[in-house]
Amino acid sequence: MPDLEDLYREIILDHYRNPRNRGELDTPPAVRAEGFNPLCGDEVIIYVQVADGVIEDIKFGGQGCSISQASSSMMSAAVKGRTVEELQQFNHAFRSMMSIEPDPDDPAPTNGNSADVKLGDLEALKGVVKFPVRIKCATLSWHTLTQAVEEAQATS
């Protein structure tokens, strides 16, 4: 079996123990979305505030395993202050790192190449691919954020 050290990298465990952007935002102006992983009962709640195509603030809540919590934390740190376009590029790059085919329902990046995106800390989640059951834990927060941002844009 692949080493557990590939899965539980130190940077992941750091985000798990010391989550960034954990909390809530007032709705409105923020939008709230919930994601569930029916397999293991993980729940992620994303609050996101979008203005003029920029993710001004993001918080997350819910309960889940180290991978889903760390992924939420890393994602929130990566996309805060970015544009929705940049988020789409991140999302594509992340999904491709997770070896997931692009979701036809996801908006494609409108410019730029997702291959050029620097995922930074998120790269640490690469080892999850070796544990296929855990991929859904890592992608849950991204699905939920995409949903929240779509809703935010639809209501703005």
Binding site: L4, Y16, C40, D42, E43, S66, I67, F131
Partner: protein, 410 residues
């Protein structure tokens, strides 16, 4: 006489395999049990020697296949103390058996505001079919709460049962292991004019089952948790109920006559078994029943009580306040299902670490989300034991659990 676990293990071919270079420590029998050689052989033998469709063939092979299917029904009937073979309806699993009752008896007999009573420790299989009837027919769903010790809180039972039409309860919780007082509940249901259904999925594999002693009107269980194949489950019901219930699925096998104008149904139990049944699976279940009878269900239960006691002692002594094991603390009051939380580490992570040592436990909500909410957690790790487990499996679990600290405890 106590079970000879070494001899039992030798009956289960899968026990020879390794996982990640370690011996298989299988502690997930509440999800599904492994299959002993006689069950695997019975299924193979059926396909090699008897395979043909049942009930309508006039040739020798079909006669023998039909006999094999009906022989399996006879074995199951004997195993659970049914009076007649025709009280045994084969279904896909316990979920389908419960849905069968909801969709046939429930649709015919329940209307807006009719109360159906269940408990907070039910599996989704005994919750969602009633939610569906609530949405479709407006039945009222009532819940018997649980106490903090994992037992049902029966303080308000009379009030909950007032006007109720059905009480449907798991005999053993698949999360807490709690053994519920089925006879007492059945008597209370009957006193209130309600029928009693028992979800025996976690009971029949582990304890001697007597449907008459239970006092039940319906009993559902599944084959694959009791050494049988997947794809075969059982609904037992009192014969007069089965007679009066409308059919379930429509199609071949369940009819007496079909015309352009309509149809008439076959006799019980075939009325409820539309289409070609899971013949090989039923034959396998018959072999499983023979196997368990050979071990002796009293011995199976005795083994489970002893091993559960050992597991509770070992884990509590080793980990003290770092481990919380849900459910009754007294082995005699519970099945061999141990849901636990360890040092606040998420169950999915616990299960991942245990897997490295070949230890198979389940992590998640165990299809009992309302119960998880009552327990105040989103998920637990669950180790569940059966006839092939022994103290070395418990020791392996206890050893491997501590390895989670490396990653998650600073």
């Amino acid at each position: 006489m106590a079970l000879d676990t070494a001899a039992v293990r030798a009956d289960f071919p899968i026990m020879c395999r390794e996982v990640h270079g370690r011996r298989l420590v299988y502690l997930d029998s509440a999800a599904t049990s492994h299959k002993p050689r006689p069950v695997i052989d019975a299924v193979t033998d059926y396909y090699e020697r008897f395979n043909s469709n049942v009930h309508r063939g006039s040739y020798q092979l079909a006669v023998e296949a039909t006999e094999a299917l009906e022989e399996a029904r006879r074995k199951v009937a004997n195993f659970i103390g049914a009076d007649q073979d025709s009280e045994i309806v084969f279904a896909k699993n316990a979920t389908e058996a419960i849905n069968l009752v909801a969709r046939t008896w429930g649709r015919a007999n329940l209307g807006p505001g009719d109360p159906v009573v269940i408990t907070e420790l039910e599996h989704h299989a005994n919750i969602v079919p009633w939610h569906m009837l609530a949405a479709e027919q407006g039945i009222e769903l009532r819940w018997i709460p649980i106490r903090s010790d994992g037992h049902l809180d029966l303080t308000d039972l009379d009030r909950l049962l007032d006007g109720a039409r059905l009480l449907s309860v798991a005999a053993v919780s698949n999360v807490l292991g709690t053994i519920n007082p089925i006879r007492q509940l059945a008597d209370a249901a009957h006193d209130a004019g309600a029928l009693m259904m028992v979800d025996a999925s976690q009971y029949t594999p582990h304890l001697p089952t007597d449907v008459k002693e239970m006092g039940a009107d319906f009993v559902a269980f599944t084959g694959h948790k009791m050494c049988g194949p997947t794809g075969i489950g059982v609904l037992w019901a009192r014969p007069e109920l089965l007679e009066a219930m409308p059919p379930f699925l429509g199609g071949g096998e369940m009819i007496l006559n079909v015309t352009k104008e309509g149809f008439s149904t076959a006799a019980v139990p075939w009325k409820f078994e539309a289409g070609t049944p899971p013949i090989a699976e039923a034959v396998g279940l018959g072999a499983a029943v023979d196997y368990l009878t050979g071990l002796g269900m009293e011995q199976v239960r005795e083994h489970e009580v002893a091993l559960t006691g050992y597991a509770l002692r070992t884990l509590n002594q080793r980990y003290g306040d770092d481990i919380t094991i849900h459910g009754p603390t007294e082995p005699a009051e519970r099945g061999g299902v141990l849901s636990f939380e360890y040092k606040g580490i998420h169950p999915h992570d616990v299960a991942q670490v245990l897997d490295r040592s070949g230890v198979c436990v389940r992590a998640g909500h165990h299809c009992a989300k309302p119960l998880m909410r009552v327990l105040g957690c989103a998920a637990t790790s669950r180790a569940s034991m059966y006839v092939y487990n022994d103290e070395s499996d418990v020791d392996a679990l206890a050893d491997a659990l501590g390895e989670a600290d490396v990653f998650f405890i600073e």
